[in-house]
């Protein structure tokens, strides 16, 4: 995660480049038709953005904006318009705090990891544990997914892999009690960072969202100010429902950022543009594989670059 900028772009590009699918050709075709910027350019642009999961509203507003910019600045050349597009997307994605600091005013820094089923929460925690350890921090894991079969075992394997201790209870135990114990142990042992795994849940399940609120509450009770970060893990293949997920998870919790996983596939994760634009939740991390090193910090310009690389 501490790779130099070029390396990050290069790596992401390489990952993303495995199958650039039609997107690259599309954008090339759209923008390098050579010559006048006509309707077909904007139609093509619409297609590219929709297929990247930006959604109808966001896409239409960007295309509208591009039309007016093209007109205003009398842009004739598709390449120039492409630059404007990248700029526009970067401007949307840039606001907010994309950094993760891993430092609390006092005591351990606590991160709660949440999201719908299968989005990549546990794997992201494993990767973070490896990264933080490498950065010289002491880490503790809290296994608050007591619901899914073998979820505790899964996190335990990550704890062994990364040499990081874990606090766990029995399957079916109260997740809030696990979280409390983990916070307690983190304080007692004086660790730098506590990462709390939670069970995947659909944002529409009111009682399960209440359960998360309770976890957030009890952690704060034990360690004032905690959790310092609440990461919403979002799968890049998610379509428009991602916005709804982000909305409801933020309504319930103090979500501080998004971790966008599975960017090593062909999905573009464009819903984060809508999430950032409409809800102002910054993306903090991107996942590009299943290995411990496959986690990167988010950078708006790189992300946009990689989107159309």
């Amino acid at each position: 995660m501490t790779e130099p900028r070029r390396g990050v772009i290069g790596r992401l590009r390489e990952r993303l480049g495995r199958t650039r699918s039609g997107l690259v050709e599309n954008i090339r075709r759209v923008f390098s038709g050579g010559g006048a910027v006509g309707d077909e350019v904007f139609d093509g642009l619409e297609e590219v953005l929709i297929e990247a999961d930006l959604g109808v509203d966001t896409t239409l507003s960007i295309v509208e904006h591009m039309r007016s910019v093209a007109k205003e600045r009398r842009i004739q050349d598709a390449d120039a318009l492409y630059e404007v597009l990248k700029q526009e997307l970067t401007t949307i994605l840039e606001p907010g705090d994309h950094a993760l600091r891993w430092e609390a005013d006092s005591g351990p820094h606590v991160t709660l990891v949440v999201g719908v089923n299968g989005s990549g929460k546990t794997t992201t925690i494993g990767k973070l544990a490896a990264h933080l350890t490498a950065a010289g921090k002491s880490v503790l894991l809290g296994a608050a997914d007591t619901f899914r079969a073998a979820a505790v075992e899964q996190l335990t394997i990550w704890s062994e892999r990364t040499g990081v201790p874990i606090i766990k209870h029995q399957d079916g135990a109260d997740p809030a009690a696990v979280a409390y114990d983990a916070a307690d142990a983190a304080a007692a042992r004086g660790v730098d960072c506590l990462l709390v795994d939670t069970a995947g849940r659909l944002h529409t399940k009111v009682n399960l969202m209440e359960e998360l609120k309770k976890i957030q509450r009890v952690v704060g009770k034990r360690l004032p100010g905690a959790p310092h970060d609440v990461l919403l893990v979002l799968d890049a293949t998610t379509g428009q429902n991602g916005l709804q997920q982000a909305k409801l998870f933020t309504e319930a919790l103090n979500v501080t950022g998004v971790a966008l996983t599975k960017l090593d596939g062909t999905a573009k994760g464009g819903i984060v543009v809508a999430i950032q634009k409409q809800l102002g939740i910054p993306i903090k991390l991107i996942g590009v594989g299943e290995g411990v090193d496959d986690l990167q910090p988010f950078n708006a310009a790189d992300f946009v670059e990689a989107l159309f690389a």
Binding site: G118, G120, R148, E153, T204, G239, Q240, N241, Q244, A267
Partner: protein, 445 residues
């Protein structure tokens, strides 16, 4: 969140009334609305393009009927085309003539394959089969353990050579294992993999070549976006998929990926997953799916939805209870959740063509109200839920505190419950009459 499509179309169609025939020109606005609605629902861009062109072809030259509401004609057309595209529905699993039947589950990471394997095993067990769950995911930590736990929950056999074995070997060995244990269905839970991962796709191809499964189900999540076409296409190119299992249909996703998946694979959706529990599996209903994707519906299907309980057995149980009036707060909650999962209440009610007209305004339904109700019922003890009569003053206080509501809220809920209970009872008595108005008037919510 979404303005109902029928409402938009009513607007777009104002101009067409009385114009005689549908033409490319007078349909333009409506088709654009339909296009956007499908895109909003996550149907793939190219798939939408083709679909809308097909609809247009089918519609051109048709007479504009004066008898029905503007917009409805084309909504119906689109709806019919969607249903047609999604097939007849209810495609059963193909069982081998001579056992064992081998069913292989494949898909991307995190789609719910292991849970789905458990659901299928449970479903088959209930139908009198003896399934063997086979753990072939050696990559994700504790995946095999997860499958074993799920097998235990489902009360079926499980088998794996473990994490250090070649998953191909595990799948091959499963056949002998099944024979030994007298199992007639083998369910292969393979690791999630990216369609662009050459090595992993090769592995799944080898498994297929070695075991020749009767069913190869592509497991995909209902929240999937535009990329569904890419992953499905490459899985379908690598393996002769026989069907799709669409998971996480209990959320609020519109589920347009269903259309993309069917279009790309040419295979039907055989089941949908509607929850985390093992019995949360249902047959696929194209008509309901079309309703959901378009953000519309009719009264009949709304009523069906509201009445739908997870399985037939439960539905019968429910009717029985309703008749005997032993219908309790848990049933009330379950009904509510069933309705809720179809989309937000307001959205749902507004989906009913003519509903807004009938009510003279947009139907408002307080979503928070639903949340409160849930919170209140969750704060009751099982006994209280079964027999609300025992809920006295101090219990009401406790329930209000527990759910973060007021005693008045609790009182109101209990009153509503009583009223609904009465209505349900009537509804059950009057069952059979499927007249639109009749059903509408008896809607329990």
């Amino acid at each position: 969140m979404f303005e109902s499509l029928s409402k938009k179309l009513e607007r777009a169609f104002k101009n067409i009334r009385g114009q005689g025939k549908l033409t490319e020109k007078n349909m333009k606005d409506s088709l654009q609305e339909i296009r956007l609605a499908l895109l909003e629902a996550d149907v793939n861009y190219k798939v939408v393009k083709q679909f809308v062109a097909d609809v247009q072809d089918a519609a051109i030259g048709q007479h504009v009927l004066d008898s029905i509401q503007p917009g409805q004609q084309i909504v119906k057309l689109v709806h019919d085309e969607l249903v047609k595209l999604m097939g007849g529905g209810n495609e059963p699993l193909k069982m081998a003539q001579t056992p064992p039947t081998i069913i292989m589950l494949v898909g991307l990471q995190g789609q719910g394959k292991t849970t789905t394997a458990g659901k299928l095993a449970f479903h088959l067990k209930k139908k009198g089969h003896k399934p063997l769950l086979v753990g072939a995911d050696v990559y994700r930590p504790a995946a095999i353990k997860q499958l074993e736990v799920v097998a235990g929950q489902a009360g079926v056999e499980s088998f794996s050579l473990g994490e250090n074995a070649d998953p191909v070997d595990t799948c091959v060995m499963a056949r002998g294992e099944a024979q030994m244990r007298g199992c007639d269905v083998i369910l292969l839970d393979t690791a999630g993999r990216l369609h662009v991962d050459g090595q992993m796709m090769d592995e799944v191809r080898r498994i297929h070549a070695q075991v020749s499964p009767h069913e190869i189900l592509f497991v995909a999540n209902a929240m999937t976006g535009q990329d569904a076409v890419n992953s499905a296409k490459q899985f379908n190119d690598a393996l002769p998929l026989t069907g799709v299992f669409l998971t996480q249909m209990d959320g609020d996703a519109r589920g347009g990926a269903a259309i993309s998946l069917i279009t790309v694979t040419g295979r039907p959706i055989k089941f949908i997953g509607t929850g985390e529990k093992l019995d949360a599996i249902q047959a696929f209903h194209p008509r309901r799916m079309a309703d959901q994707i378009l953000g519309m519906g009719d009264v009949v299907s709304l009523v069906e939805k509201a009445q739908e309980v997870v399985d037939q057995e439960k539905a019968l149980q429910f009717q029985e209870k309703a008749r005997k009036a032993s219908w309790d707060l848990e049933d009330f909650l379950e009904q509510m959740q069933q309705v809720k999962k179809m989309g937000s209440m307001g959205e749902l009610l507004n989906k009913i063509p003519g509903m807004s007209k009938m009510m003279g305004k947009d139907v408002e339904f307080d979503e928070d109200e639903l949340k409160y109700t849930e919170a209140i019922i969750y704060s009751m003890t099982p006994k209280e839920r079964h027999n609300p009569k025992v809920i006295n003053g101090s219990r009401r206080r406790r329930i209000a505190d527990g759910s973060g509501t007021s005693v008045q809220d609790v009182n109101r809920l209990l009153k509503e419950f009583q009223q609904t209970k009465k209505m349900v009872k009537q509804m059950m008595k009057g069952k059979g009459g499927k007249g639109r108005m009749g059903n509408r008037a008896r809607l329990p919510f």
